[in-house]
Amino acid sequence: MITVIAIDALEYNLVEEFNMRNLKQEYYGKTDISEFSEPRTMVLWSSFMTGENKEEEILAKGDKEMWNTRIPHEETFFSHFENPFILDLPGYNYDLEQHERERRLLKEFFMEKDEEKKREIRKKYNENAFAHHRKIKERFLEALEGEYDFILGYFSVADVIGHLNFGNRMMMKMIYRDLDEIVSQVEGKKIVLSDHGMKAVGVFGDHSEYGFWSTNFKELGRPKITDFKSIILSETK
């Protein structure tokens, strides 16, 4: 049994700076995503679950349709398990409405010129992201008690909040602390994996050109995101 804690935009340098021991586990490092032209969330998670670079295929859908990607179960490595539990993963089963709401508020924020109104929109945007996170956290912790042979929980909070608040160290630290605590509650073999990290642009956050990985069972060097299919399957044989 193996559990993957998939964290969008978990940044290597912040995990180090905040010294999040559970996120780091025994072995940790950066992933190599240099084969991709941009660190796009949908492309990276789709490539992770299939073990193949899906960039061309996903980009061919266009910017809007890309977010509606649903990779069939049998094309993912999850199909190798009898009873997997996959929670809210982009490109597989994530909450489309939630994501659309986030993008709508992000657009509203950047279109608004008035500083006070901008802060109001950001507040709404943050509240929406945190409410979703609380729901996902609860469902993930419940799943840990279930009879599954593979569990993957996807957490978007560091990415969503980071885009408009990455310069707010205190807020980011609170988020990382919460994620660290979630990882601490997982027993057995576990992998923490991000698609990409995040770098500051003033108060905002942009995707960085590498991801984060950690395990409590194996040193992985600098793996590609597509390597995790074989890593996970070989560990669960």
């Binding site: 890309m66 500083e115 885009h163 707010n168 205190m170 905002f204 942009d206």
Partner: protein, 84 residues
């Protein structure tokens, strides 16, 4: 106790409220405050929360949305497919 004293006690009570924290955290704090000026876990928690809130408020006060950075991040978010 006279009615006046009861009233005062009630008024004093309403200045505080009860919050829950995990028991292991409570024990950790209790150990930490030994030999410090803090006489109770409540005092320590209040102090820490005031510090955290002050830092957050300070960060928010100092925060400015620079037009240049906003343009830069907007362009990046477009490239990543978040904005059309």
């Amino acid at each position: 106790m006279s009615e006046e004293k009861k009233g005062k006690a009630k008024k004093k009570k309403s200045k505080h409220t009860t919050i829950s924290i995990p028991t292991p955290l409570y024990k950790k704090i209790k150990k930490r405050i030994e030999g410090t000026g803090f006489t109770s876990v409540s005092d320590y928690v209040t102090y820490v929360l005031r510090e955290v809130l002050a830092s957050l408020e300070e960060e928010e006060k100092e925060e400015v949305f620079s037009e240049e950075e906003e343009e830069k991040v907007k362009e990046r978010l477009r490239a990543l497919g978040y904005l059309d």
